[in-house]
């Protein structure tokens, strides 16, 4: 294989790396919504600050890459041993202090600039003061689902976090206190903010101020056990009015008829050990609060859509959706299964 071909392949390989990154970006923009967790499509101040810093770092890195890459290619091509070489050793050069100084000082300057740029964003995000009108949420990580407490409103929800949209002119951010009930987890919704871990016996914080309504996806980003992969995050950003309406609904106790067979089965089996249905005698806290189960789009922390069929299957055999989840198979017979499913579908 000729040497030119070799260098060409090396060069193309490196170019491909850059192009692939750009192609990934371009296709992400072309089909909006096909990359719901793209870190380069920020819609909230923390994600946006990170995005701006990332662009700066990428430009600096690209400049270094192109410079060193060209020098390497040049030296490999130019100083190759050519056919018909006289067989003598090249001049033996041992070093040069001037050159060493140059390629020490220039990187030091680049490093200082990068540090200052990063420190500014760290301070801006971590030490930000929350304005009046901030919504407080406490997120508790569980194997393998999310609990959301709204202390200002006095209710608990699960797996789908509702927040109100924030007008950049009059920000109404959501401040999230992060706790863990068991192992380490990490809260990561790439379009809204970078990740922050939920660590047991420790209190962490993060905040978001989404500028557009919509559903934002993410998932647990710190390995937390068997079903880490299906501990999905779903954040529903609503207009203030929709959010207030949702809060008012969530504050109500369950509107369930206490005479149904399904409710009796639910309340006399192990279901109540782990689940709460406000206004009934189900007070368990190990699993998600089911008071307004039907107000959610998904079950099992996003592993399945919230339909009667999926609910029934989930109760019958949780491993069908999430092998290794801590929800036990309830061993109900068919009529009881139907009755409990029917009861749950009334929890809206």
């Amino acid at each position: 294989m000729s040497l030119k071909l070799r260098s060409a392949i090396l060069f193309l390989t490196a170019l491909a790396w850059l192009c692939a990154g750009m192609a990934g970006r371009a296709s992400g923009q072309a089909v909006e919504g096909s990359h719901p967790t793209d870190i380069f499509s920020p819609v909230s101040t923390p994600a946006h600050s990170i995005y701006d810093l990332a662009l700066f770092v990428l430009v600096v890195c690209a400049a270094i890459f192109v410079t060193v890459f060209c020098l390497l290619v040049y030296s490999v091509v130019k100083y190759r041993k050519r056919p018909g070489d006289d067989g003598r050793e090249p001049p033996q050069i041992y070093g040069s202090n001037q050159i060493e100084l140059a390629w020490t000082v220039i990187p030091v300057l680049i490093v200082v600039v990068l540090f200052l740029a990063a420190a500014r964003v760290i301070h801006g995000l971590e030490d930000a003061r929350m304005p009046a009108g901030t919504t407080e949420v406490t997120a508790v990580g569980h194997q393998f689902w999310w609990e959301y407490r709204y202390p200002q409103y006095g209710f608990t929800a699960a797996n789908e976090l509702h927040v109100s949209v924030s007008d950049p002119a009059h920000p109404t951010p959501t401040h999230i206190t992060l706790l863990s009930a068991d192992t380490d987890h990490s809260f990561w919704v790439p379009k809204l903010a970078g990740k922050t871990d939920l660590i047991p016996n420790r209190i962490n914080h993060t905040w978001i101020d989404p500028h557009e309504t919509g559903v934002y996806l993410g998932q647990c980003a710190q390995y937390c056990g068997t079903q880490h992969a299906k501990m999905l995050l779903r954040i529903i950003v609503e207009s203030r009015a929709d959010f207030d309406r949702w809060v008012a609904e969530q504050q109500q106790p369950a509107r369930a008829d206490n005479t149904t067979k399904g409710r009796q089965i639910f309340e006399t089996t192990a279901c109540v050990n782990c689940h709460t249905v406000a206004g009934t005698n189900a007070h368990g806290t190990f699993g998600p609060d089911l008071t307004h189960l039907m107000s959610r789009e998904t079950i099992a922390a996003g592993a399945a859509l919230n339909t009667a069929e999926n609910l029934r299957r989930w109760i019958q055999n949780p491993d069908y959706f999430k092998p290794g989840s801590l929800m036990p198979a309830m061993q109900l017979d068919e009529p009881d299964l139907d009755a409990v499913t029917e009861y749950l579908t009334t929890l809206n």
Partner: protein
């Protein structure tokens, strides 16, 4: 004493091979050996076996991730695979294979007859070997999270409190602890041995400033091993106390701290990266000059940069922990220290560049791997800078971008340097050349596979894909990238197969190497291939960093300029 006496004539005769001995005598010879060369080869052979095992584990993961909602393996098995893959590749492939090369080459390069402590050397190898065997025995003897059975499944950095008895029932985590604890003892012994050997066993004339750069870098490796293994060993003992004696170091349910485990682990874990990359730097620092036909550029600066990297590497650990909620001051400190380490690392790349500049570069297989290393290590360093900027890290950490980054360091950097080392020193170890033709097949297949896998692995990370998930949702736009990544594995596997075939066939039928097939300059090339017992019948005397250059060019010796 003149340079002409450097190669004692008594050594030019072919060494006696032990093939004539009965089989059991040969086996017992290898098991009871305290010879640094044999131990080096044992380390390397042992690591190659585990390289194949770790590669199979990686392949299983990649098949599982080839498309969303795949059912190739269960989540339990997948979690075991990534835990075992990481643990195996770091502790039972990368460290032993590098220790093997250091063991083999350092005494030869400094003109010594063996390591300072040959029996300790053997002890270190067997500790490492038994550590790996205990870890793998877990497939039979352990049971993991929820008693699912089999190998450890808590991740290779085994974050607390997932390792607490309440979350990790059974004994799989215990096998992980004990396996690494035992191999850690071996590593500490080996680190002590490296340091002592380099400091005390150099031949006359070889001052610290005249040691080959290879030896300098591995002296630094030895120091880092000594400093880094302690915290890991301490943490593992504390974890054992938690699990069996009712301790609460990391038991968060009784007031323990998960963060403390992270600090202990990464105070070990980050220097560990440099324990692995220093020997790779050492390989480059020998191979690039020989195949550029020039001495290393800026030798004193290279030494200073290595020591500088070792110092700074002890103070960057918490850049693995930017997402745990440190204060803004804490985060800023680790951004600064992490960015600072880029400077001496960059200096190294520039000096290799300076070595090639003005040379006559010969594209033999070892050099091909070194050139690929330079390009890949450059990219790995730049993605490292991105990860080191804490806010950017809040998006990138724990994602496939990180996985791609550190595989760029470990595969694109360390493994490529290792392959270069194999092609470069195999003739010395076996007396025969590895086939250049097969070597080029190996190089190109592996290069293509590497770039298909690890270039494209960055992208799902940027698109929000976390690591360590056994499956993923189809609507995230990650599918195509995961497919390409998995296709690359086939090319890498083919490359490794060609390599293994090359090792075996060349061992028996390769071209005879002679003492000095590369026209090189360090002392190992002055003795026969393979070297005789105790290496040098007569201890050589050197006057410069390139004693064989002085010998070959009496009109223009190095010692006039150093």
């Amino acid at each position: 004493m003149g340079e002409a006496e450097l190669i004692p004539r008594s050594l030019t005769a072919a060494p006696v091979r032990d093939a004539a001995l009965p089989f059991f005598d040969r086996v017992s010879g290898w098991i009871t050996t305290v010879d640094h060369k044999r131990l080096g080869i044992l380390y390397i052979g042992y690591a190659l076996v585990f390289l194949v095992i770790g590669g199979i584990e990686a392949t299983i993961m990649r098949i599982q991730l080839i498309r969303p909602h795949n059912h190739f393996v269960s989540p339990e098995v997948f979690n075991q695979m990534f835990t075992m893959h990481g643990t195996t590749m770091i502790f039972f492939v990368a460290m032993p294979v590098l220790f093997g090369f250091i063991n083999y080459a350092v005494p030869l390069m400094i003109g010594a007859r063996d390591m300072a402590f040959p029996r300790l050397n053997a002890w270190g190898f067997w500790m490492t070997a038994f550590g790996g065997i205990i870890l793998y025995f877990s497939f039979l003897g352990g049971s993991g999270l929820y008693g699912a059975g089999g190998a450890p499944d808590v991740g290779w950095f085994a974050y607390a409190p997932l390792t607490a008895p309440v979350f990790s029932v059974g004994h799989s985590t215990d096998y992980w602890i004990i396996g690494l604890l035992i191999s850690g003892f071996g590593s500490v012994a080996t680190g002590i041995n490296f340091i002592t050997t380099v400091l005390c066993m150099r031949c006359p004339g070889m001052t610290l400033g005249k040691m080959p750069l290879f030896v300098w870098l591995n002296l630094v490796t030895g120091v880092l091993v000594l400093l880094a293994m302690g915290p890991l060993t301490a943490a593992q003992i504390m974890l054992l106390i938690d699990r069996y004696l009712g301790g609460h170091f990391f038991d968060t349910q009784a007031g323990g701290s998960a963060i403390i485990w992270m600090h202990f682990f990464w105070v070990f874990g980050h220097p560990e990266v440099y324990i692995l990359i220093m020997p790779a730097f050492a390989f480059l620092s020998e191979i690039v000059p020989v195949f550029s036909r020039k001495p290393i550029f800026g030798y004193p600066i290279m030494v200073a940069a290595s020591i500088c990297i070792a110092f700074i590497s002890m103070s960057v650990w918490a850049h693995h922990m930017f997402t745990v909620g440190m204060t803004s001051w804490g985060n800023a400190f680790f951004v600064a220290s992490t960015a600072a380490i880029a400077v001496p690392t960059g200096i190294k790349i520039f000096n290799w560049l300076g070595t090639m500049w003005g040379g006559k570069i010969v594209f033999k297989v070892p050099m091909l791997f070194c050139i690929a290393f330079l390009f890949q290590f450059l990219i790995a360093g730049l993605t490292g800078i991105m990860l080191g900027a804490a806010p950017f890290n809040w998006q990138l950490s724990g994602s496939y971008f990180v996985v791609a980054h550190f595989h760029y360091v470990i595969v694109g950097g360390i493994l490529f340097a290792l392959f270069a080392g194999f092609y470069y020193w195999f003739p010395k170890m076996s007396g025969r050349m590895l086939s250049e033709k097969l070597g080029k097949w190996h190089f190109w297949l592996f290069l293509i596979g590497f770039h298909l896998t690890f270039d494209f692995m960055h992208i799902p990370g940027l698109l929000g894909m976390p690591r360590r998930i056994y499956t993923y949702e189809p609507d995230r736009g990650w599918d195509i990238w995961n497919l390409i990544v998995t296709i690359g594995v086939a090319f890498q596997a083919a490359g490794v197969l060609v390599f293994v075939y090359n090792l075996i066939s060349s061992y028996f039928t390769g071209e005879l190497a002679g003492n000095d097939p590369w026209d090189a300059w360090t002392l190992e090339w002055s003795t026969s291939s393979p070297p005789p017992d105790y290496n040098f019948a007569k201890i050589p005397v050197v006057r410069s960093r390139r004693p064989l250059w002085d010998l070959k060019h009496p009109e223009d010796p190095d010692w006039k300029y150093e």
